[in-house]
Every structure is written in structure tokens, then in C-alpha cells.
Symmetry: C2
Subunit: 406 residues, 2 copies
């Protein structure tokens, strides 16, 4: 097998984790360059490569120097949200394959730029939406494809993750989330929940998202969190500061084929993590919050303790039939590579497509249509929850493009 | 104690159940008149009264005859949704106290008519929203009032109840729901979920609902349900018929004080019953689907089997401190009076207010603002999910009206 030369652009927490995952699990990979706007992060990236047995990679804080190198075949973009698309576009224009981390888009225009650049260059491009490779997501996808739930009518998902510590200590961490939360109000991180749902609903492949409305609650969570810890809080200038980002952002999306999607961003109030992945059909449903399957004809239960005890986690009874083989073979080693194993599957798919010239399972149309939700929710919220048309980035090709599952 | 003379208008399934509940649990009540558009139901109502030891009541299919009688002090309106407001208005104009069952309003205008009539007559009026007296709802209300969850930011609720059999056999049952589902598309039943949330958020008393947007999924559930049973289905003309009512209707509401509310109508797909009652604050949350409480500072859990097993039903640990005494004293007899006991509490509150000249815990402003959601969601959906202003039925008085809990 020919070696694939990889440049890593962006070496914050996620970038370093991804770099390790790739180095320790994907064969025929050589990391030839590392890049971050912070020099110490470049050094850390180099160290990770060398400790994994690689030669010291080229280092530069300027990504334009990295993407133009002849010893780079693939550019992995692990930077801050607001720079993903620009770097991906420049890398595509330099003829490099691109794997781009998730995040929202700042504008619809930059999503169009991404699409147009790919259509001009046709280099391999994938958005690295790891949740599309998640355990529950893939098992439920298989249930949907088998017809277990009948015709799908509605899906719900959330990015429900208490990020108050991460956001409020952003200055010390040099983390870009802080500025977003101070200054913007939107669903800033829609793809973890929307991605797997969009795949199930064949968005851009026989279906498309037509319109959304979005609503944000007040922003009270971070201010309270900081106030409650003011004695020990390092970044004193944040004490008493108002944040722009509403604590709960709910977005409703309607699709060409009549399905609806509801998304929730829920990151600044106390809670446990969930993606709240829920699929509703005419013959059954799956709900992640209780990991339960309910099929038409089963006895109706009421909300009692006995009900919870009966249905909680009953989805495990379906694993034998519907859980993908790759997840059945999950090992402790793969789990530790990141997010219980789904990062590994994602990188396998990406590098397999590059090595074998296959289409990407999450392509530029997926990326554009999922990422633009951030820009559209921002405008809907700012203008009093008005409906926003969602662009058809395929320019009509969704009508004939065929289903392509992960 | 002076006896209270009660007329029952509407003796379908719910009316008969309520009649029995009242007769077997409330003292100093005499049912002096029964009324339904169907004569056989009047006869059944009479039978229930007589079997409970009462004298045979006056019977008439014309409610205008009933509400004008001098031996009627209170008119209980248990009819079809679309007639609630008209009958309530006429009864108020006849000088009678009114207890009105729940349902949505067909127009905002009729909600104004209801409010104006009450303001002219000032007779006792209560909307009989039994879920405001629910076990979980009242316990969580107490948690909120104690400050356990900090500042409240968002609430969610649903009327999630598989009504496919009831709706599709509506013709045989003479049930009004069928026509609504054939011809309309809205959140047709918003008060079970919205009512307890509105009480928590002090709607019309220091706060108000400002604006909503609503979105409906396709209507596929009922058609599929009937098709799957066509061999045994009695009402053959419904086979293959399209319904107007979307299977899932999601509505987002923003409040004057910055809180948001999300509501879901979910009645024509297979599922178990839930009101999905969820309260989110800066220091904690309650979620009915898992009957769980999560407070700031507790370890964050991820979506694993262990997580479910740990948190499911942990709200029971809070009952000693927060469950109202009335619910702690719940007996099997009271439970059997209807909906696990909450119907009894509701009627106690209603007749107590009448007997002792107290203000009603769910008043005409509550009724109007909760019921108008149906009309507003219908228009929002019909016009492509546009935002709809929610009227201030208090005409500014919400700013100074004081909290009044159930």
C-alpha cells in the first residue's frame, strides 16, 4: 500500500486527540507536517508524532505553508470552528484531500464557497462527523433501513453537554468557544445531532431540508455558574458579564418529504450528556434517553416507575440483529482511541475512501447543509424566530442522488 | 354547608367519568340537571346520578334550557372542544359559575370573548386543567419554588398519547376528535403540557407568553394504522383517507422574562404515554421521562446503561421533602376517581373556591392564553411556520398580578 502523507492543522485538545487516534490505529499513514497558530502546540504535535515512532514532521504556525507542501497529500483540519471552511477551501485549491472537523458555519455564503470549491477541484473531501459512526446511531439506522419503524415521520436530536467549565475558562485554555458564547446566539454546534438524522432521512439524496425556525432561551447559565464560583474563578473580568448565547436553543426543520427534525443546543445549564437521538415512525420508535425501542402493537405504558423499569435499555435486545459487526467487535483498545470507538471508525472510512478512491460517506453537500444551520438559526433568532429557507446546495441533484449510508 | 346545585353539560366518556368523580367525592353537591346533544347520554347521566343516591335530575339535549334554570348554580362544561367556550360564555351570561374542561380554541377571538364575558359577569370560572394538580407537576413546582433548580430558563412538555384507535373509530364513538384530525393541523390539545409549565413560569402573573412558532410533520400515522387493520376496520370510508393533522407538532414559545417553552403534540404514532414534563434551571433540572432530578455539582454522566440505572426514578428521593401532603395521603379510592387522583384534587379546588368565595387557581386569563395556542399554531403552520404574537389577555395587568399557585 502506498503511504499517505498527512498534515495536521489545529492541535488544540481535539487536534491532539485525533492525531493520536490516527497514529495508533490507521496503517500506511505518515504525518509529515503539523501546524497550529500557537507554537507550543506545534511542538506538542511533533512530540506526539515522534513518540509514536514517526520522523519529526515539518512544523509551521502558518497553515498556507503547510498545505502547499509536496510531501502533504491530505490536510486534516482540526482548528477553531470559524477557520474550518477557509482552511479546507485553501487546501482543496492546493489540490489536497481534506478531512475537516465539525462545527457550525458563520455564514451561508461560506458554505456555498465550500461547495463550489469542491465542485471545481473534486478532491476527496469529508466532514469528520464522528457521531454518524456512533453505536446507537448505526444500530438505529439499521433498524430504520429494515423497516422496523415503518415510514419515518420525525427525528429529534440534541447536543446536550454541560460545557460551562470549558466555555468559562476559555481564555486560559485559548479556547475559541468563549468568544462565541459571549457574542453570538445560535445553534453553534448542530452536526452531532443533525448528521446521523440527516443520513437516516436521506438528506441531499432523495430528500432535502427546506426550512427552519429557531428560538433561544435567555442566557442565564454561564453568568450564574461564574457567580457561584467567583472566589476561585481565575478570569475575574468574566464575573457578572452577560453572555449572548441562549442556554437552550431549539430549532425545528421541515423536509421536502414531510418529515420534521427538532434539534436542541443545550450546553450551559447543569445536566448529563445526551444526544437525545430519537426516531419516530408509523410502526415504532427509538429513544436514546431511555435507550428504548417501542413497536406498534406493544402494550401502551403509562409514566410509572414500572414503565421505566420495563423499557429502559430494552434496545439491547435488538443488538444481535441490528448492531453493525464493527461495533460488535469493539475492543478496549479501539474504545480508548476516542469517543468510545466512533472516532476510529470515522478515520477508517476517511482513509479507506482516499486509499481506494471511494466516495466519501459524509460529503461536501452534507457538510454545507448541516453547517449552514448555525448561520440560519442565528438569523432566525435575531429576527424574532422567522422561518429561514435552507439552501439546496445540490442545486436540484438531491432528486436523483442515491442513498449512500455510512 | 349550603348545597351547590350542579348541571352537567356533556356526557361522553369524559363527562361521565367526571360526573362519577364529583358524585363520589365532593360533599354538598347536588346534580340537578344533565345535558348532552345525544339523548341516550342524558339517560346515562341520569342513571349515574340516581345510582349514586341522587334524585332524578332534569334532562335536556339543549344546553340553553339547562343553564337558565334557577335550580342550577354551577355549569360543568364537558362537551366537545369546539363548544366549550360558547357554552361557558352563555352560562356566565346566565349568571352561573362555570367549570370548563380542557381543549384548544378554534380562534383567538373566542378567547377574547371568554375573557370579556368573565370581566363583565365576574362569576366564578375555572378551566379544569387536571394536570396542574398532577403528582409530578406539583412536586416539581415545589422544587422550583424552593429554589432547588435556580433561575428557570426553559420548560418542555408534551401531550404524547397514542390516540390512533380513539381517533380512527371516532365515527362509531360519536367522538369529535375524528373531524379535527381529518380537517385541521395544529397543536389541538396544548393545555395538559402547557398548563403546569405556565403556572411555574408565572404566566399572566409577572410574566407572559410573547410569541410562538409551530411546525407539523407529515400526517402518516393514522393512514398507516387504518391500512394495517383494513380487514377488521369498521368505518371503511376511512381506509386510504388522508388526514390533515400532522403526527408530530412542535411549538416553541418565548416569554417576556426570557424563558422558552417547547410543546409537542404527539398522538398518532405508536408510543407510550408521557407528558415529558421537563424543567431546566441554572442550578438543576427535572425530567419526567426518566423521573430524574439532576443538580449542579453532581458528577456528569454519559449516556450509558449505568447512567440510566443510576438516575432513573431518583426523583423519588425528593418526595419526602417536596411532594405535597395531599399526594402523600393518596388512597386507592381517590386514585380510582380519575387519572390517579388528580381529577379529585381539581374538583376539590373548584368547589372549595365556589363554596368559600376564593379566587380560582386556573382562571379565565389562564384559560384564554393556554387555549389560544391551538388557533395560533394552526396559523403558524398554515403560513409556513411564521412567528405569531400571543395576545396579552390581561391587557397589561400581568405586570402587577401576583403569583397564585394551585
Amino acid at each position: 500500500m502506498k503511504k499517505i502523507n498527512v498534515a495536521i492543522v489545529g492541535l488544540g485538545g481535539r487536534g491532539k486527540g485525533n492525531l493520536s487516534c490516527i497514529l495508533h490505529s490507521i496503517e500506511n499513514i505518515v504525518v509529515t507536517a503539523v501546524c497550529d497558530v500557537f507554537e507550543d502546540r506545534c511542538d506538542e504535535g511533533e512530540k506526539i508524532v515522534v513518540e509514536a515512532g514517526g520522523a519529526a514532521p515539518y512544523k509551521n504556525c502558518d497553515y498556507t505553508k503547510v498545505i502547499s507542501r509536496s510531501d502533504v497529500d491530505v490536510v486534516m483540519v482540526f482548528t477553531s470552528w470559524e477557520t474550518h471552511i477557509k482552511i479546507a477551501i485553501d487546501a482543496m485549491k492546493a489540490g489536497k484531500a481534506v478531512g475537516m472537523e465539525v462545527g457550525g458555519a458563520a455564514s451561508v455564503d461560506e458554505c456555498w464557497d465550500l461547495v463550489h470549491t469542491w465542485e471545481e477541484t473534486k478532491v476527496p473531501f469529508m466532514m469528520l462527523e464522528n457521531c454518524c459512526f456512533g453505536r446507537n446511531e448505526l444500530m438505529v439506522r439499521n433498524m430504520v433501513r429494515s423497516g422496523l419503524f415503518g415510514e419515518i415521520v420525525h427525528c429529534h436530536g440534541a447536543y446536550a453537554h454541560d460545557l460551562r467549565e470549558e466555555v468559562s475558562t476559555g481564555k486560559e485554555r485559548r479556547h475559541y468557544r468563549l468568544n462565541h458564547y459571549l457574542n453570538e446566539n445560535c445553534d453553534n454546534y448542530p452536526t452531532h445531532d443533525l448528521g446521523p438524522i440527516a443520513k437516516i432521512l436521506d438528506i441531499n439524496r432523495g430528500n432535502r431540508m427546506v426550512r427552519l425556525v429557531s428560538m433561544a432561551s435567555k442566557a442565564a447559565g454561564l453568568k450564574r455558574y461564574i457567580k457561584d464560583r467567583e472566589e476561585i474563578f481565575v478570569n475575574k473580568e468574566l464575573i457578572g458579564k452577560d453572555f449572548a448565547q441562549g442556554d437552550i436553543v431549539n430549532t425545528l426543520i421541515t423536509c421536502e418529504n414531510g418529515e420534521t427534525i427538532s434539534l436542541t443546543l443545550d450546553t450551559t445549564l447543569p445536566r448529563s450528556y445526551s444526544r437525545e437521538f430519537t426516531v419516530r415512525g408509523t410502526r415504532g420508535m427509538y429513544e436514546e434517553n431511555t435507550n428504548s425501542v417501542y413497536l406498534d402493537g406493544e402494550p401502551e405504558n403509562f409514566i410509572t416507575v414500572e414503565h421505566y423499569q420495563k423499557v429502559i435499555n430494552n434496545a439491547k435486545d435488538y443488538e444481535d440483529k441490528y448492531l453493525p459487526e464493527s461495533w460488535k467487535k469493539m475492543t478496549q483498545k479501539i474504545k480508548e482511541l476516542g469517543h468510545d470507538g466512533m472516532d476510529y471508525f470515522e478515520f477508517c472510512a476517511f482513509f479507506d475512501a482516499i486509499a481506494n478512491d471511494k466516495p466519501m460517506p459524509v460529503d461536501v453537500y452534507d457538510a454545507a447543509s448541516w453547517m449552514c444551520i448555525s448561520a440560519l438559526t442565528k438569523e432566525s433568532i435575531a429576527k424574532g424566530n422567522i422561518p429561514m429557507e435552507i439552501p439546496d446546495f445540490t442545486c436540484g441533484a438531491w432528486k436523483t442522488r442515491k442513498r449512500f449510508d455510512v
